[in-house]
Amino acid sequence: MSTTVTREEIEQRVFKALEEFGAEPDQINPDAEFEAMDVDSLDLVELAQIVEDEYGVQLKGEDMEGIKTVRQAVDLVMSKLG
C-alpha cells in the first residue's frame, strides 16, 4: 500500500524510468534537471503515468508545471501521498 512507500523507493523508480527514457545513467541524480537529461514534456507525461500506476497518485498537467528536477518530482509525489 502507498503508506509503506518510502522516499528512496520513489526516487529509485524515477531513476529507473529516466534510464528507460534514454537519460545517461551517470547523469541521473536527485538534483539533475530533466532538461539537461534531454527529458521533455512527453517523457514527463509517461512518468506521471508510471507514478499513477505504481503509487495510485494522480499528477495533472498543472501539478507538473515548474517541476525541473528529480527531487522536485519526488517531493510532489510524497506530498500527494500525504
Partner: protein
C-alpha cells in the same frame, strides 16, 4: 541553368541484411531474405544502430529509416550534419502506411486499459511523416522536409521529389528514400483479406505459378546532391538520378490498368525527362510484385514504352523475388539495388522463375545474375514502382 543530381551515398536495411551492398551482393548471389512467407529485416537490431532514446521515440519504420540514413550519410562522407548551409538541405522520405505497429499496439492498450493509458508518444510515432521529421531533426536538415504517401510507389515518389528539389534550386542536398514496417497483425490480415498475399509464401515474379506478393519490411535511403556542389567538396559520386516521371492509371482502387497504359506513360516520360533514348537503357528493375495482375500489365507497359523488339533484348529483373514487397520502401530500396547493379555492370536475377506464362515473354534474368550487355559505355537503367490507387513512378538512373 539545369542542375545535375548526383547520388553520393546509399544505405539500406532489408530482409537480406543490414547494408546497401549487402543487399546487392546477396541478391546478385541468388540469396533470398524470405523465410516462412515473410521478408523480415531479421538482422536489424535497433539498439546496435540507435540510442535508447531514439529507439523509444520511433516506430519501427522510423528506426529502419534512421539506420539506413546513418549508413547513407557515412557513405556520402558527411561528417556532422550536411555539407554547406543546413537551410539548403532537405529530407523527403516516403512510406506506404507509416507507424501501423504503434497504432495497433496502442489501440490494444486503449481497449484493454482505457483511453488514459495510451502513450503520449502514440501520434508522433505513428504519423506517416515521422521518418522524415526524425531524420531531419537528427541530421540538422533545415530545408523542406516531408513524407510522400502513394502506397507502394512512395519511395520512388520521394526520390523523384528530391531530384526535383535540387534541379529546381530549392535545395542543394536531399536525404531521401522510403521506409516500411507493416508486418503486423492488422496489415497482414487486411492484405490477406483482399487476396493480395501469396498463399504459397513464395515470391516468383513473372512465373506462371505466381500467386501474390510476399510482405517485406525495410528502408532505403539515398543522399542526393547538386553535382557541382558534390564535386566541389570532393565527394565520390556513385551515379545520377537522370530523370523521373509519375502518372496515374485513373482506373481502379487496387488493380493496375491491364494494358499498362499508365505505367508505360511514366516510363516514356521519365526517359524524356532524362533526355535518354529507349535504346540507351541497359537494365530494367521491375516493380515485379509476383501478383498475377501486376506482372502482366508491367510486361505490357515495358513493351509499349520500349517497343516489342527492344523490350525483348532488355534484361528485366525483380528485387522482390529476393526480399518480398517492401511497400513504401520498395521504390527506394529497389532504386539503390538498380544503382549498385548498374555500377557493377551486372543484371541481378529474378529468383524462383521457372515456368513462363503466356504473354510474359521478356528476359526476366531467371535465377542467375549475368553481366549487363551493352553497358560498356554508359550504364543507364530504370526502376519502376507502382502503388494501390493507380500511382506509377519511374526513376531513370545512371551509374558512374
Amino acid at each position: 541553368m539545369t542542375r545535375t543530381v548526383a547520388i553520393t551515398g546509399v544505405g539500406a536495411v532489408t530482409p537480406l541484411g543490414v547494408g546497401a551492398r549487402t543487399l546487392h551482393e546477396r541478391w546478385t548471389a541468388g540469396r533470398s531474405g524470405i523465410e516462412d512467407g515473410y521478408g523480415r529485416a531479421g538482422e536489424f537490431e535497433p539498439k546496435e544502430h540507435l540510442s535508447v532514446k531514439e529507439v523509444r521515440r520511433a516506430d519501427r519504420f522510423t528506426q529502419l529509416a534512421l539506420a539506413a540514413t546513418k549508413e547513407a550519410l557515412e557513405d556520402a562522407g558527411w561528417a556532422d550534419g550536411p555539407p554547406g548551409d543546413p537551410d539548403r538541405a532537405a529530407c523527403v522520405i516516403g512510406t506506404g502506411i507509416g507507424g501501423i505497429g504503434t497504432l495497433e499496439s496502442q489501440h490494444i492498450v486503449m481497449r484493454e486499459q482505457g483511453e488514459d493509458r495510451i502513450s503520449p508518444l502514440s501520434i508522433p510515432l505513428l504519423m506517416a511523416n515521422a521518418a522524415s521529421g526524425v531524420v531531419a531533426m537528427k541530421h540538422d536538415l533545415r530545408g523542406q522536409s516531408f513524407g510522400t504517401v502513394s502506397a507502394c510507389a512512395a519511395g520512388a515518389h520521394a526520390i523523384g521529389m528530391a531530384e526535383r528539389l535540387i534541379r529546381y534550386g530549392d535545395a542543394d542536398v536531399v536525404v531521401t528514400g522510403g521506409s516500411e514496417a507493416a508486418i503486423t497483425p492488422l496489415a497482414t490480415a487486411a492484405f490477406t483479406r483482399m487476396d493480395a498475399l501469396s498463399d504459397s509464401g513464395v515470391s516468383r515474379p513473372f512465373d506462371r505459378r505466381r500467386d501474390g506478393f510476399v510482405m517485406g519490411e525495410g528502408a532505403g535511403i539515398l543522399v542526393l546532391e547538386d553535382e557541382e556542389a558534390a564535386k566541389a567538396r570532393g565527394a565520390r559520386i556513385l551515379g545520377y538520378v537522370r530523370g523521373y516521371a509519375s502518372t496515374s492509371d485513373a482506373h481502379h482502387l487496387t488493380a493496375p490498368e491491364p494494358t499498362g497504359r499508365g505505367a508505360a506513360k511514366a516510363i516514356e516520360l521519365a526517359l524524356k525527362d532524362a533526355g535518354i533514348a529507349p535504346e540507351d537503357v541497359v537494365y530494367v528493375n521491375a516493380h515485379g510484385t509476383s501478383t498475377p495482375l501486376n506482372d502482366r500489365s508491367e510486361t505490357n507497359a515495358i513493351k509499349t514504352a520500349f517497343g516489342e523488339e527492344r523490350a525483348a533484348e532488355l534484361p528485366v529483373s525483380s528485387t522482390k523475388s529476393a526480399i518480398g514487397h517492401l511497400l513504401g520502401a520498395a521504390g527506394a530500396v529497389e532504386a539503390i539495388a538498380t544503382l549498385l547493379a548498374l555500377r557493377d555492370r551486372i543484371a541481378p536475377p529474378t529468383l524462383n522463375y521457372e515456368e513462363p506464362d503466356e504473354g510474359l515473354d521478356l528476359d526476366y534474368v531467371p535465377n542467375e545474375a549475368r553481366p549487363l550487355a551493352g553497358a560498356n559505355g554508359r550504364a543507364i537503367g530504370i526502376s519502376n514502382a507502382f502503388g494501390f490507387g493507380g500511382h506509377n513512378a519511374v526513376l531513370c538512373l545512371e551509374a558512374q
